[in-house]
């Protein structure tokens, strides 16, 4: 995609693909719109929230959202068991979950891409070791590993982040390795080598820009999984710890009140569901747009 975007920035470029790019199905438009909303919330949660997300008010505990006759002024989505404003908590939780998933996805993407390039460049032993780790990782039920690690070492923000990064690296490694192996055989790669370039120049300046498209698609497909991992672990009480909150943690707290105050769990649950669904829809669409074999 980006080559065409770059090319169409030039005045004499041929038929710009940018126009067709905007012809998305309505569902993808909705998904993209929701993702923009989530991005705005994640960026400006502190500005948007009406109350402090930790501010308790024991006089107004477990108040229902605006549609109920029992709702109270100012708490649009009601309050939780400590009388904290649900909307404010939801905004902060979205911010925390998105930020964690973004960091985790990026860590995994960078790690996987680097290992994939190393495997493709060195081949032989390096390749075999990397691919062995990839297979090992792919065969492991990662959630269980993460649970065991967190239970054993105790909860720690950086450990949690590292686990999120490790969750999806193997897909990037496998993808990058294949892409680089085939790109290395392309004439331009041989040409750059024949010019006398060092390997880093070949990879950074030529091969990576040429294979970045599929990697970005993989990023969008991997992102929802990372959100789900974060929310699952936080739901189980092994992720984000109070007083900080996240979507999964809110869901976990709300679970105890499912019969009496169902919105405490359902609202964060719905945010998780719609966010991951939107991301998957958008990523799928992006993949079919960028992959010539699927067009």
């Amino acid at each position: 995609m980006s080559a065409e975007t770059v090319a169409s920035a030039k005045p004499e470029a041929p038929a710009p693909r940018g126009e067709r790019f905007w012809r998305m199905p309505i569902l993808v438009w909705l998904a993209a719109g929701f993702l923009v909303l989530v991005a705005v919330i994640a960026t400006f949660a502190q500005v948007l929230m009406p109350y402090g997300y930790e501010d308790t008010n024991l006089l107004f505990r477990l108040k229902p959202p605006f549609w109920s006759s029992l709702s109270i002024e100012g708490h649009v989505l009601g309050t939780d068991k400590l009388g904290r404003d649900l909307l404010s908590r939801l905004l902060v939780a979205t911010q925390v979950s998105i930020a964690l998933a973004l960091l985790g996805t990026l860590i995994g993407a960078v790690l996987g891409t680097v290992l994939g390039v190393l495997a493709a460049h060195y081949g032989r032993l390096v390749d075999e070791i990397v691919m062995m780790l990839v297979d090992w990782q792919a065969a492991m039920p990662f959630l269980i590993i993460a649970l065991a690690v967190l239970a054993f070492f105790g909860n720690n923000f950086y450990l949690f982040l590292a686990l999120m990064g490790l969750a999806g690296w193997e897909t990037y490694a496998r993808l990058t390795r294949g892409l680089v192996l085939s790109a290395k055989e392309q004439g331009y790669a041989v040409a750059v080598r024949a010019l006398g370039a060092r390997p880093w120049r070949l990879y950074v300046r030529h091969i990576l820009p040429n294979v970045i498209g599929p990697l970005i698609v993989q990023l969008t497909l991997n992102f929802p999984q990372t959100i789900l991992l974060e929310t699952s672990l936080s739901f189980l009480g092994l992720g984000i710890q109070p007083p900080l909150t996240s979507l999964g943690q809110m869901l976990g707290e709300g679970r105890d009140y499912l019969l009496t105050s169902w919105w405490l769990a359902v609202i964060p649950g719905a945010v998780i569901f719609i966010t991951t669904l939107s991301m998957s829809l958008f990523g799928d669409w992006l993949r079919t747009r960028l992959d010539p074999t699927q067009r």
Partner: protein, 333 residues
């Protein structure tokens, strides 16, 4: 090999070059078949000359070019450039030498990075070898592009915005901006329209005169070879079977394979004034996985004898100049 004492020292000397590719096993735990793409190739290049390598598809021409440039690691043999033995040179030494040893590709579109404008790609070699001040490099690249006929607005374009001939000009500019001494041209015009071929061939010849370039010119197109070559090496199944001056080869091809390749060249007459009989070969070339014993041509050669089926002929000098690998060449002329 063909350098005698009164000739200047060769710019490139290649001795006993060979390349074997391991092929996939046919059976699990079976032996690994080896494909011999190039075997025992030796030649010298004198500065400023053009040696053409001809032969049919798959005979190993490109492999020879890639071995000379160390884009493939040789299985055997030695390469000396300007007297420096490069057979044991490390990667860094080779990178430095690439300034003098350049390559022009057949597939010019594939040889250009689709995501960079051509002036940037031409300037890249200057960046790599730190030639000139960084701020002057783009300008120098543009001058080079201008001198290969890609002036003005074409310079800032992406490869897909150029025609095949323009792409090949960009590839030529990228190689020549480094002011190399030896250029391997691997079928430089084969992918181009016939009308454009002549322009690019003429450009290559002009550039050779301007910069004093030495060409290793790989081609299967004999009319192009006849136009550009000083000497011609004929390849069959990974080996040089004849090396001769262009005029000698085209008027008096000596090896049966050369005679078949050059065919019924009307002017072809033997040294005794007799017309050289065109040679008709039987069948197809064998797979390089299973080369025949003895002379590689023997299953197809009408002159083959028992000796040909057992002993491999060496490339040896002919009295009238040139080198031929055939047991019976004297009797055939």
């Amino acid at each position: 090999m063909n350098g005698t004492s009164h000739e200047p020292a060769p710019i490139l000397r290649v001795q006993g070059l060979a390349k074997r590719f391991p092929m996939p096993r046919e059976r699990l735990f079976g032996p690994r078949p080896m494909l011999t793409a190039v075997a025992d190739v030796s030649f010298d290049l004198t500065a400023g000359e053009t040696l053409a390598v001809v032969g049919e598809s798959g005979c190993g021409k490109s492999t020879v070019g890639n071995l000379v440039l160390n884009l493939l690691a040789p299985s055997a043999g030695a390469i000396a450039f300007e007297g420096e033995d490069l057979s044991h040179a490390n990667a860094a030494r080779w990178r430095a030498r690439r300034r003098d040893l350049q390559l022009i590709f057949q597939d010019s579109r594939g040889a250009l990075d689709p995501r960079l404008t051509i002036d940037r790609q031409v300037a890249e070699g200057l960046d790599i070898h730190r030639i000139g001040a960084p701020s002057d490099r783009l300008e120098k690249a543009r001058q080079m592009l201008d001198s290969v006929g890609l002036g003005g607005h074409l310079m800032g374009r992406y490869p897909h915005e150029l025609s095949g001939g323009q792409q090949q000009r960009a590839v030529i500019a990228r190689a020549l901006v480094l002011e190399p001494k030896l250029v391997v041209c691997d079928e430089p015009v084969a992918a181009l329209d016939v009308s454009v071929q002549a322009q690019v061939v003429n450009l290559l010849q002009d550039l050779q005169r301007t910069y004093g370039l030495t060409y290793l010119f790989i081609s299967h197109d004999l009319s192009v070879v006849r136009h550009v070559a000083d000497r011609v090496a004929v390849m069959y199944l990974g080996r040089f079977v004849e090396v001769a001056s262009r005029d000698a080869l085209f008027s008096q091809p000596a090896h049966p394979y050369s005679r078949a390749l050059i065919g019924a060249v009307p002017a072809a007459r033997s040294r005794h004034g007799r017309r050289v009989q065109p040679v008709a070969l039987h069948g197809e070339p064998p797979s390089p996985l299973f080369p025949p014993q003895g002379c590689a041509l023997n299953p197809r050669c009408p002159f083959a004898t028992d000796q040909c089926r057992q002993e491999r002929p060496d490339l040896r000098p002919l009295p009238g100049g040139g080198f031929v690998a055939c047991h019976h060449v004297e009797n055939l002329l």
